[in-house]
Symmetry: C2
Subunit: 433 residues, 2 copies
């Protein structure tokens, strides 16, 4: 149906393909995936694997001549083992649904993209997704123990194992994670769960401007605190949240830092956070869980709030943690010079920023000033020793800058591996590398 083809042709990157895919398979079982890939191999049909379609780099966008393989209907939680603290799930399970199921056992799944309510585990694996809790608990790679993957030719590959450690052979598990649907299609994942922390302590801090907030975040890292969450939002983002949510954060300062510590020492660690932040801004401890949850909600609503202002293209650069102030100053300068509206939010404890470009409806993210601003952002990050993408992936949108970051030999080796595993080139061609 055309409506299906329309729906599966895009993701949440803002990229609009020039045509619709030829068809879409809604897989329900691993066998459906095997059958589809065998058939596609036989007829040399390019296949675009797809989960919940919340990608931010157009890795699951599709066009004429391509077949979409949608695994969002494979969405069962197959097993939760509270003793071993792991879950076995199908790829279409939503991140938030897994967390809700784990919570019944006092456990949680650490990677928590802002899109937790709508993004799927398969997509999280395809992009090696991160989120707010990753500085302390690691990204998706650190939470995936094992995978069942269908290769381009229909063979079933098992990677990893259920034990915490293991070095039998190459780390194919890590190779698959973040490969954006170019090396295989995940049909089952064994995930590490973690015990919910016994305590969580929350600090909200407001600063006169975003540069000061960034300096404060670097100071927390330099003080050797390990926050479980440290989120930064600039003044324009606070305004957008206030407008959408009816809150009044912007009146409290020109930039906001939310710092959570957790575990047995959460409140002791919080005292050190306060000592570091108080000379730089105005800090308050969350008075109760409800207050803390409201602060987290403000951060989670940042993207939806910005989406009310226009079409949003979400940047994803990363820099060494001591260079946050330099990069936010640089972003302000790019915005002023190009006239492109850039709003900055960041996972400040791992140096991962999401500069949000808000576009007018007629503007494109793949050409004109917005694309130029994306390129300038990358060059800024690169100059500061950073990366093009911390957790969203390359997809279609960032291919132009990949070689500049990773180098010629690295790109050659990646292509060598891709060709070795998918010699016919049917898996997500044109994406990732």
């Amino acid at each position: 149906m055309e409506a299906d083809r329309q729906r599966v042709s895009t993701d949440r990157s803002g990229f609009v393909p020039d045509s619709l895919p030829d068809g879409v398979v809604f897989a329900r079982t691993p066998d459906d995936v095997v059958t589809t890939l065998r058939m596609a191999s036989e007829h040399r049909i390019p296949v675009v694997p797809r989960g919940a379609g919340t990608g931010l780099a157009a890795a699951s966008s599709s066009r004429a001549g391509e077949l979409v393989l949608d695994v969002s209907g494979m969405n069962r939680i197959l097993r939760i083992d509270p003793q071993e603290q792991l879950a076995v799930v199908e790829p279409g399970v939503l991140n938030a649904d897994l967390n809700a199921a784990a919570a019944e056992y006092g456990l949680f799944y650490a990677p928590d993209p802002a899109s937790t309510a709508i993004c799927s585990i398969g997509g999280n694996i395809a992009t090696n997704a991160g989120g707010m809790r990753c500085a302390k608990y690691g990204v998706t790679r650190e939470s995936v123990l094992a995978l069942r993957v269908i290769l381009a030719d229909g063979r079933e590959l098992r990677t990893g194992r259920e034990t915490i450690k293991g070095v039998s052979g190459y780390d194919l598990n890590a190779l698959m994670i973040g490969s954006e649907g170019t090396l295989g299609v995940v049909v089952e994942a064994t995930l590490r769960l973690r015990p919910m922390p016994v305590h969580t302590a929350t600090v909200a801090a407001f600063f006169p401007d975003v540069t000061t907030a960034a300096r404060a975040a670097s100071a927390v890292v330099a003080a050797r605190i390990q926050p479980s969450v440290m989120e930064l939002m600039d003044g324009p983002t606070l305004e957008a949240v206030d407008m959408a949510m009816g809150t009044g954060y912007r009146s409290k300062g020109g930039a906001f830092l939310l710092v959570q510590t957790d575990g047995f020492g959460a409140f002791l660690e919080q005292e050190v956070v306060m000592d570091v932040l108080e000379p730089l801004g105005s800090c308050e401890k969350a008075v109760d869980d409800e207050h803390a949850a409201a602060l987290l909600t403000a951060r989670r609503e940042a993207i939806p709030s910005l989406e009310k202002l226009g079409r949003v293209s979400i940047g994803d650069i990363g820099v060494p943690r001591g260079r946050l102030a330099e990069v936010v100053s640089g972003l302000e300068e790019i915005s002023a010079r190009t006239g492109v509206r850039i709003f900055t939010i960041a996972h400040a404890s791992d140096g991962n920023l999401h500069p949000m470009i808000v576009l007018d409806p007629e503007d494109s993210v793949t050409s004109g000033p917005a694309k130029a601003a994306l390129g300038e952002m990358f060059h800024l990050a690169h100059k500061l020793g950073g990366t093009l993408t911390g957790e969203h992936g390359i997809g279609l949108l960032k291919r132009d800058w990949l070689e500049e970051e990773v180098g010629k030999v690295s790109l050659e080796v990646m292509n060598t591996i891709r060709t070795a595993l998918d010699p016919l080139g049917i898996l997500n061609p044109g994406k990732g590398l």
Copy 2:
């Protein structure tokens, strides 16, 4: 010189090659490595990369027809960045030397194999080495940010990046880590350091037998404590340590568990550890740092102590953490039935056991009862959902059982990647896969 060739022909696995390598290159610079590999490619000479030679799976053993590429002389710490908490080192730097240098900045490098004083970072990377602190801080993979690697044909590959997060292209960093010198030769590594914990709390617990100790360790995991160290030693190992060190641990119980918690909440977490362990054995808190250090030394001296009893072959199986009691019972049964002496020590918080086979001088680890016992250990671990090797690697010694664990397709894919990156097959042939 024959003495050099003799020295570089073996590691610490107990495996004795049937001949000496043809020669050995002592590399001093990355260019030496490039030149060696280009020359080897041109003449199709198999190259055995080698660090400090402390491997436990014979991955760096060598024989006639092979050239050893020894990088132990590339042993400079190039940079420590206390702000970004990272170090840049050459591969020959010893693990303990890096930790000593990092300590001057209040930092530490988390992976800490028992051989820390004599093993090199390059070897740690080649095997994805672990150690005592890995359950909390992750294995080598979680501490390596970036690598410079020379490929078989002499090209220089850079993997990873200096930022905490990054998903630009495939995770070649993780692919190299644990590849046992079969995909390239590491000439420089950028490593993540961590702040030394503000507090460390230590508990020593003695139990009537090893099964009870294993049950106690599983109970700590089930209580959702995250020890930084949780080490188990059985009674025969305690006897060997007492004999070598003049201590009296065996008189206190038939098995020993050392549990450390660290961080802001270390002492609060310790109380929960005590609550879990006290019903099962006799526990004491370390009274001061010196006491705690003595307990850690007992564990670090276990292997040298056993080496005084005969030639030691160190097993390295891993099991799900709830199955520790089953696996130690199984090991006792294997020892009783085969007559092979097996001593058990374990990193109990991640389910990684080191069953130590002590051989008489005339016995071999690659044939006869010792090899049979190794095979039975693996089958035991496999039956319990576990792995052949938690942190030592496959090398030469465990190839026979690799396919049974990872499966046919996985082995095919690993070989596909190996052939793609080293089409002439010159890097460590016969090892790893």
